[in-house]
Amino acid sequence: MSEGWLYFAIGLTGGILGGMGMGGGTLFIPLITIFMNVEQITAQAVNLIAFVPMALVTLIIHIKNKLVDFNSVWYLLLPSLITTILTSFYAVDLKSEILKKSFGVFLILIAVAMFVSEGFGFFKNKKEKKQLKIPKDIKQ
């Protein structure tokens, strides 16, 4: 089997998991660096670029279904755009070996955090305990 087909197969695996909402990119990058000896920075670039058309399709579907909460998008998006540009430039110039190791640490942290949140409901929506006290005389 030629290398191209192996790349395709790994992409397919990562893509299916990503489509299922399990964070495909976080699996695609280690798979392709461990098994195919691809440079870490290349794997990251491929992951970023491949995500764009796929996300575009799903985003259009989600917008049509009115599932996107645009009120909160901007508060997250604008600050993150600034830092993402800075760290992208920083990562590209970094040694691939260092980048790979820090990605390994990141993976372990994410795996543990997800495991804990699944087990104990850590990240689940907290019910607001402090409800505003409603004065008794406001009743219709």
């Binding site: 995500f51 796929m54 909460d69 998006l77 993402t84 540009i85």
Partner: protein, 145 residues
Amino acid sequence: MKKVYTDYIGKENCCYFPELVKTDRIKNLKKFFQLVFAGLFIGAVNGFFGGGGGMLVVPALTVIIGLEEKKAHATAIAVILPLCLVSGIVYCLKGAFDFKVGGPSSLGIIIGGIAGALLLKNLSNNFLKLIFYGIMFAAGVKMIL
């Protein structure tokens, strides 16, 4: 009852309960800063690691704003898509993208992603998730060593 109350507060009568309006405003300000700091962090992670920001946006949205899971997933894509586009452009400009690797695997990711979203939506099995986290952990250890 709740609706009646908010209607009441929403009108010019709100000055009857200034302390209620004040706590609401402080709450919103707190949420605003939480979102901005979460955004700074998410952007840094997504740019540096070339992905993985989506796994942080979903908990940020559910915890800070209290969005339901499904909406949080959809909104996360709206946040991550421009981030990936921008940092992808930076990576490409610096010559990190390799078409020999990127061509076939992007095709796989796109086809797999659409297939996964369409066909396997109900496969959010807890056992599968456990296996997935296990693989992630193992891969992380392998990358460090």
